[in-house]
Symmetry: C2
Subunit: 356 residues, 2 copies
Amino acid sequence: MKLTAVIMAGGKGERFWPKSRANYPKQFLSLTADGETMIQKTVRRLKNLVAKQDIYIITNQEYLYLVKNQLPDLPKENIIAEPCPKNTAPCIGLASCMIQKKYQDAVMLVLPSDHLIHAEEIYLNTLKQAVAFAEKGENLITLGIMPTYPETGYGYIKYLHDSSQDGIYGVECFVEKPDLETAKNYLNSKKYLWNSGMFIWKASSILNNIKKYMPDLYTGLQPIANAYGTENFEKILIENFPDLPAESIDFGIMEKAENIYTIPSSFGWDDVGNWLALERINATDNQGNLFDGDIISVDTRNCTVCADNKTIALLGLDNLVIVDTPDALLICDKNSTQDIKKVLAEIRKQEKFNLL
Amino acid sequence: MKLTAVIMAGGKGERFWPKSRANYPKQFLSLTADGETMIQKTVRRLKNLVAKQDIYIITNQEYLYLVKNQLPDLPKENIIAEPCPKNTAPCIGLASCMIQKKYQDAVMLVLPSDHLIHAEEIYLNTLKQAVAFAEKGENLITLGIMPTYPETGYGYIKYLHDSSQDGIYGVECFVEKPDLETAKNYLNSKKYLWNSGMFIWKASSILNNIKKYMPDLYTGLQPIANAYGTENFEKILIENFPDLPAESIDFGIMEKAENIYTIPSSFGWDDVGNWLALERINATDNQGNLFDGDIISVDTRNCTVCADNKTIALLGLDNLVIVDTPDALLICDKNSTQDIKKVLAEIRKQEKFNLL
């Protein structure tokens, strides 16, 4: 069966402010020393498995230029702009309709555009295993990541750990982001996986489930699906997409459907959720510092610093994130990185919209 | 007797890096909200007491333009550039010779250019009291500041506190910068004053003492003194000044001479010795922050921030000094401000001389 990939690239990049902006979110940034952006990494990895004419990017209107600019060798018609953000279920529904119309049916890899994977060969082998299982029936597979520490920023998957079918397991339930105590229990129990948001299924499988569990979405998608491949597609998309129900695929389908499976995986996955991730995905020096740019450091430890066009001198500091850009400089205690939304709220309150 | 003032403005401004630079030291910066620079404040205060044609600035070659630019109404011939830095004794010796030659004798106020004074009326009255006492004999008077907290960054004067002649006291000895425990003892004993480096004496008094305690300096000054007022002055100064012994007036004269007096003073003096001084001389907000420029602050306390031409967002910070300039940004824990010389040493080591 034909193998396709759908990369979801509509996310806003607030957590990497001031490097990410409303019109330049995380997926278009390079956060590693190699200079490759997150979405470029995502596509490059996939090309080992999926032909480029079968890779689709679903983004939004504002990022269309960035996607085309960063991924010049993808077919232009494979890059679809949502007229407005509607969470993941309409995005995946739209892609599934397009793929079903074009290929009758096909296996879809549904992937975020802004995650990092260290062990790419293991990752590709895991996807192959999932693809084979997806072809077999109406199976909805989500990749679960074996936790390596008690992360409180991820949702978890409780899996039926004695139900293995060649390394593929049934899912008991999905659970919300835990507190630290709960996360520690999850880690120790070995029955919980990080929910990576990577899905593998046939277009027909997910559409059947959308029809069953999200009938309004299914109905709303039909005129768009019918117009796909015609010259009216863009017009019909703009007219109909805003009326689709905004919902996540996790809540709308995964938490309700049967035949949900997971593959407990260990390929060095990181969702690069905020500035703290940088020290996980890049090598720090022997003082725990991670420096990019022209830095003068004295008696300074555990600081992550991105300089822009000037020298930054650090003296007697510990545990800070410092990010300089031409119009805004962030200095943040590492324990406060999750509160960056408070900074953005203050910027909005002060009506400094050019900084967003 | 004629009253003159000599303002010493040759100091390097390392402790206010990156706002101060080797060619733009502290005395030429404004560190208060009113925009007036330190040397402008010093001269403005004095004009209540001394005619502007009797105010002399001793600076060095590199700062000549800055002095003339910031003090345009002082006579150009009153601004003297030392060919090289030689500490305070040669500087004061030179000024004393010039004043003696021009006025036969005169009282001299010898003052640093980069200190701050809150209660200017009390300050002027204290100077008047010192001037009257200096006229009376060969008295060398130094203003002592009643300590208000156990500062470890100043030298102290131990005064003979039961020797008052109308508020003027004999000096028992000068002591070096103390450790915190010693500074606390000094404060509690009420027998010690901060050494402000402000002196009042007749030109003849200090020159007699230089002749006695620093004969090499006295001899070395003679050809320069003889040339003062002639067209050869600058040439002779450049030829002879570099050979004068480099020494402080405190070590060379004050710690050795007789007739040393002090006036215990309380006029809100601050030597503005480093970035920490800013929160003493400016009002902080109710979180202890002192902000200059476009700052967005979230959960941040006790930070002193000077923004340049971009927005600075602070998140979850405490006890930092942050100073942005077009080519260098300093971020420093307040407990490390005395180590700014380590940053400058590192800049020299990396041969980034344009940042000095």
